[in-house]
Amino acid sequence: MADHPAVEVDDLHVSYGSTPVLTGVALVVPAGAGVCVTGENGIGKSTLLRCVSSLQQPDSGEIRVFGAPPGATPEFWRAVVTTVEPPTWYPGLTVREHAELVCRAHGQDPEEAGIDEALDRFGLTGHADAIPPSLSSGQKQRLTLAIALIRPSSLLILDEPEQRLDPDGRKEVAALLATYVEDGGSLLMASHDETFATASGAHVTTMESLSAVEP
């Protein structure tokens, strides 16, 4: 996997009806590096992330993730974690059990993977026995990030991970993402908060600079 960049996007075009959103977008995320895309609302950040995560089919253009087209295979999803789409939580399962389920599915031992530390770091220890739908929106965001970070992966695709987090939470998440990149993981995210992005160890770039044509 190391021979290929984590993400390569070339000449990507997406339009919703007659409104072009992405016009000739090109982007490279080297393996083991972080890139943060910024830009105003509606400029196409989420669309770009959705295309890279194979959750949306572009009109034209080429996308490669670790040298291969993104797919819906279990192998792809073992390498890639995305929070572009919010999850629907399983009924009757607590916060901690959701984290443990994901760990076990990846063959991890929950104690070794450090579930309790992760929940503690994200301020969820007091809510370990709650069911996720009863959490606040910020806590749900924290849980999603905790689960995304606790399982093994090579590429994180995060859509505004700082959203709904309080200032301390942002610092904490930024530090975790920086560690993730330092440990060899790749990161592609969209954000409105450049301080957060820089603290996450990501190279900040604007959506305009990625497009061949001004949208």
Binding site: T82, E85, P87, W89, Y90
Partner: protein, 502 residues
């Protein structure tokens, strides 16, 4: 702060006028006409069946059945009232009128009136059905109408209890539990009667002269309590009314959008929101999703208890054709298996967590079929074993046939859980009674259709011949091969999403 309230009637009139401005002229009249036509046509078609249900030619129920029907029918009425409120507002009224400075009593009175009418009518119908089945035909018209009136009053009394429970605290849950027990006892009585052969009840019914003061006293008591309830209406807590308004709204959405999953999802969400859970550690040996389903089942012990009791229900069909009994067993297997398909339902609706788990759709569905399969197998074995023990089925290893229905129930329940929203774009059918949209019909059939895999068992039950081990083997093979084919046909080892990309 003043206690002055804004009069409600002009507000309601204003809303009514604005709404009618958006409706087509004569739409309401048309709707009433079609509703009446529908009732007349359906009544004309099924009046014979209605007569069998409410007023058979001769009384055919024993004392035990009559005594069991009372807690069964009125217990169901009470639990239904509790589940739907009983006091509800429309969602717009809950949003806009509940926080407004209008008289709370006047706001809620129409809802109470409607609930009282429904409870009285249902109670009276239940009373008539019980009298029709159990009372001798010598009972005079006045006595019958007095008894029916009494039953209607009991319906209203139950409504008042449900109303107090809606406003009150935890005792409401306890009353629910007691009523559930009475309901279970009533069902047990019905089953016990169909297992034995009780003779139809004879006399012992009080004459009209005795009933008149009794019903009069009951009417007085219910009337006084109703007046108290109306006075206390304003004390109903807001959150209870909001909850009931959500139920009413979801019910309306379900009916209007012909999408029953709105309602079932809401009931499930509320159930889990009220539970206090403790996180459990997952055992290492079992596959993760099997563990998850087991956890889900372990947390629904009350439902398991009901399922176990419901295994006796096919006994009620002892006098019906064997095929009907077989269908009841198959449907029961589907319901038993559905206890643990919440995970499949979640994944079918939103594959995000499945992507996080990175399991292939084949692994996921394979693991998720185990617990439903075991539940279906145990339930069918219990139901068929009971039928055989009570002598409703000829000799043979019926319990083993029940066990082989496990894969059948699992396939049907998982298939049902994977069905998405109703496809309302499907071509509607024009019939003489109006247009029937096929979407909901097709949707309702997905899942139960897989019960065809239980055809060998159904044929065995319907025929009523002694059961051989060969037949058990045939059903086991058909069920096993069917489950395998389902897995191979609808999942893939290199796709995570349960539904193939469109």
């Amino acid at each position: 702060m003043t206690a002055a309230t804004v009069p409600l009637a002009p507000v309601r009139r204003w809303i009514g006028r604005r709404q009618s401005a958006h409706r087509e002229r004569g739409a309401t009249v048309g709707n009433i006409y079609f509703a009446l036509l529908f009732v007349a046509v359906v009544g004309g078609i099924v009046h014979k069946q209605l007569a069998v249900v409410f007023w058979p030619d001769a009384p055919n129920a024993s004392r035990l059945v009559a005594a069991s029907l009372v807690p069964t029918l009125f217990g169901l009425l009470y639990l239904a009232l509790r589940r739907f409120g009983p006091l509800a507002l429309s969602r717009p009224a809950a949003s806009w009128l509940l926080p407004a400075p209008v008289s709370r009593r006047r706001l809620l009175l129409p809802s109470l009136r409607l609930a009282a009418i429904v409870a009285a009518v249902v109670g009276a119908l239940a009373g008539i059905a019980i009298i029709g089945h159990a009372a001798p035909r010598t009972l005079g018209g006045p006595a019958v109408s007095l008894l029916a009136t009494g039953a209607g009053l009991i319906g209203v009394a139950l409504l008042l209890v449900a109303l107090a429970a809606q406003a009150g605290g935890r005792w409401g849950d306890r009353v629910d539990a007691v009523v559930s027990l009475l309901l279970a006892a009533g069902l047990a009585g019905l089953i016990a009667d169909s297992a034995s052969s009780g003779s139809p009840a004879a006399g012992g019914w009080p004459p009209a002269s005795v009933l008149l003061p009794l019903v009069g006293a009951l009417a007085l008591v219910v009337g006084v309590l109703f007046a108290f309830a109306v006075r206390g209406l304003a004390r109903t807590p807001n959150e209870r009314i909001l909850e009931a308004a959500k139920t009413a709204g979801t019910l309306f959405d379900s009916a209007f959008g012909m999408e029953p999953s709105f309602l079932t999802d809401m009931i499930e969400r509320r159930y889990w929101a009220r539970r206090h859970l403790r996180s459990k550690r997952f055992p290492v040996r079992l596959p993760v999703l099997v563990t998850q389903d087991l956890l889900l089942v372990a947390r629904r012990r009350r439902r398991l208890l009901w399922l176990a009791l419901a295994a006796a229900l096919p006994v009620l069909l002892a006098d019906a054709p064997g095929a009907l009994q077989g269908i009841a067993v198959l449907l029961g297997a589907l319901l038993a298996a559905s206890t643990s398909t919440g995970g499949v339902k979640t994944d079918a609706g939103n594959p995000t967590l499945l992507r996080m788990l990175s399991l292939s759709s084949r692994q996921a569905i394979f693991q998720r079929m185990w617990v439903p399969g075991v539940l279906a197998a145990l339930w069918s074995a219990l139901a068929l074993g009971l039928l055989a023990t009570l002598g409703d089925l000829p000799a043979g290893p019926w319990w083993a046939l029940g066990l082989t229905l496990g894969p059948v129930g699992a396939v049907a329940a998982v298939r049902r859980a994977r069905v998405g929203f109703v496809r309302n774009e499907l071509l509607p059918l024009d019939t003489p009674m109006g247009t029937v949209s096929t979407g909901p019909l097709v949707n309702a059939a997905i899942g139960p259709d897989a019960l065809l895999l239980g055809l060998p068992a159904l044929v065995e039950i319907a025929q009523g011949h002694p059961l051989s081990w060969t037949s058990v083997l045939v059903q086991a093979v058909v069920g096993g091969v069917g489950a395998r084919a389902y897995l191979a046909g609808t999942t893939s080892p290199d796709r995570v999403e349960l539904n193939a990309a469109r």
